[in-house]
């Protein structure tokens, strides 16, 4: 009998880690593991924030995926253009196709800057390397005025990022002597500064102390680049000299065409098994799913072993471990609050986060993680 074929789409955190964990867990020669990625580059996305704020250069953010993979994994650098889930095959842009017995979709989230009128012309953001570098230049040129930070599409990855940006840009402007000439306004999509109440209670006094004004129920609907005005879904308008807005995120084009995703292109998955609804042998992890939890690298990190356990069990003809084959909604992230301090959020479907008081320790832990990332997480060492 032919060896079972496992195909993984996407070489971000979820795809790279899944490939490595599978190769490690399966007996030698038990299956073929193939990872497909359009660019062949793995990007450490949390670094964009630091590039935009002039604290790091973009050089350390991307690496050749091959350098992160175990030798037994086949890497195919090509774009998946169609998933034929009835026929168990994936079609590639250059004309090839890959048959599979198990498919893991880790195609992430993608930006749709055109979704919000005026966004492209009027707003900056830090959700790609190029955009983070453009924002860094815009900040270098900025010499005071109205700085507006907001959210122009839901969902978006790393829900704490705009808040971190607000704290850190305030610090930068103070150090540059521009703070007195700048009004900083934070547009929150909901009725408090952050979605998690305990976190909001912690950060609201810190925002007030630093003179960052918070406007609640403010979801960006349009940007007028001529008048420099942001209009919200709730009917308010705000003037800006520099707008830093989170762009609309959507699922990958290849999954939008499968009929297995919602209108924004997020795959409908079982919240515990991560199996794509309507399929027997297709899983999705990371940003690609429609789960109502954070789109974040840590989500993919905690989901990958759950999918690996189910696939390995199927291939080695044993029952999956009841605990390890079930995702409990676990997410973890750091939150920088400026001044060299940070806190940490850890939660799952059943337990809300109880963030510790912001301290130097968690800031250093985040930096340590940033530095250790390339040698630990994609390889499954964390």
């Amino acid at each position: 009998m032919d060896r079972p074929r496992i195909v993984i789409l996407g070489a971000g955190v979820g795809g790279t880690l899944t490939a490595n964990l599978l190769a490690k867990a399966l007996p030698a020669g038990a299956a073929d593991v193939t990872l497909v990625d359009a660019t062949g580059l793995h990007t450490y996305q949390p670094g964009w924030l630091y590039v935009a704020l002039d604290r790091a250069n973009a050089g350390w953010l991307a690496r050749d995926v091959r350098s992160l993979l175990r030798d037994e994994i086949d890497l195919v650098i090509d774009r998946a253009v169609e998933i034929d889930h009835a026929g168990n095959r994936v079609m590639l842009e250059r004309g090839g196709e890959l048959g599979y017995d198990h498919l893991v979709i880790a195609t992430g989230s993608h930006l749709d800057e055109a979704a919000v009128p005026g966004f492209r012309e009027g707003a900056n953001h830090f959700y790609s390397t190029a955009a983070a570098e453009r924002l860094r230049e815009a900040l270098r040129r900025f010499d005071g005025g109205d700085l507006v930070i907001g959210v122009a599409g839901l969902p978006y990855k790393c829900p704490v990022a705009p808040l971190e940006f607000a704290f850190m840009v305030e610090e930068q402007l103070r150090k540059r002597g521009l703070r007195d000439r700048t009004n900083i306004r934070y547009l929150s999509p909901i009725n408090r500064a952050f979605t998690i109440e305990t976190v909001s209670t912690m950060v609201e006094p810190m925002l007030a102390e630093r003179g960052i004004e918070v406007s609640t129920f403010a979801n960006v609907e349009t940007v007028d680049p001529v008048e420099r005005r942001i209009d919200t879904l709730e009917g308010e308008s705000f003037h800006y000299d520099l707008a830093v807005l989170i762009p609309q995120h959507v699922g990958a084009e290849v999954v939008r065409k499968t009929g297995l995703a919602d209108v924004q292109g997020w795959l409908k998955v079982d919240r515990h098994t991560l199996r794509v609804q309507g399929t027997e042998n297709v899983y999705a992890i990371g940003d690609a799913t429609d789960l109502p939890i954070s789109k974040a690298g840590s989500t993919a990190h905690f989901e990958a072993p759950v999918v690996v356990e189910q696939i390995v069990a199927a291939i080695t003809r044993r029952a999956p471990d009841e605990v390890r084959s079930r995702y409990g909604g676990r997410v973890m992230c750091f939150l920088e609050v400026g001044g060299g301090k940070a806190t940490m959020l850890r939660f799952d479907y059943d337990n809300p986060p109880r963030p510790p008081k912001p301290s130097r320790f968690w800031h250093l832990a985040k930096w340590g993680f940033n530095r250790a990332y390339w040698f630990t997480l994609p390889q499954g060492r964390l």
Binding site: L154, N191, G235, Q264, R271
Partner: protein, 78 residues
Amino acid sequence: MPTQITTEVDARGSFCPGPLMELIKQVRAAAVDDVIAVLSSDPGSTADIPAWIAKAGHELVDIEREEGYARLIVRKTH
């Protein structure tokens, strides 16, 4: 006749981004007159969600309280 639900989102156990953000996401993506149901196990949602609906000018059709969660039903009006 019961209201016809266009989309239902199960946001139970969602602390981040949370049920209200899930609802706003659905409303943004929906067509006018679509009815969205959001399930939330966060006790704050029964106050937060109606407050956003009032500010954004949509219609709160109903709040059904079940054991351990609430089902909030919203019509997109514009």
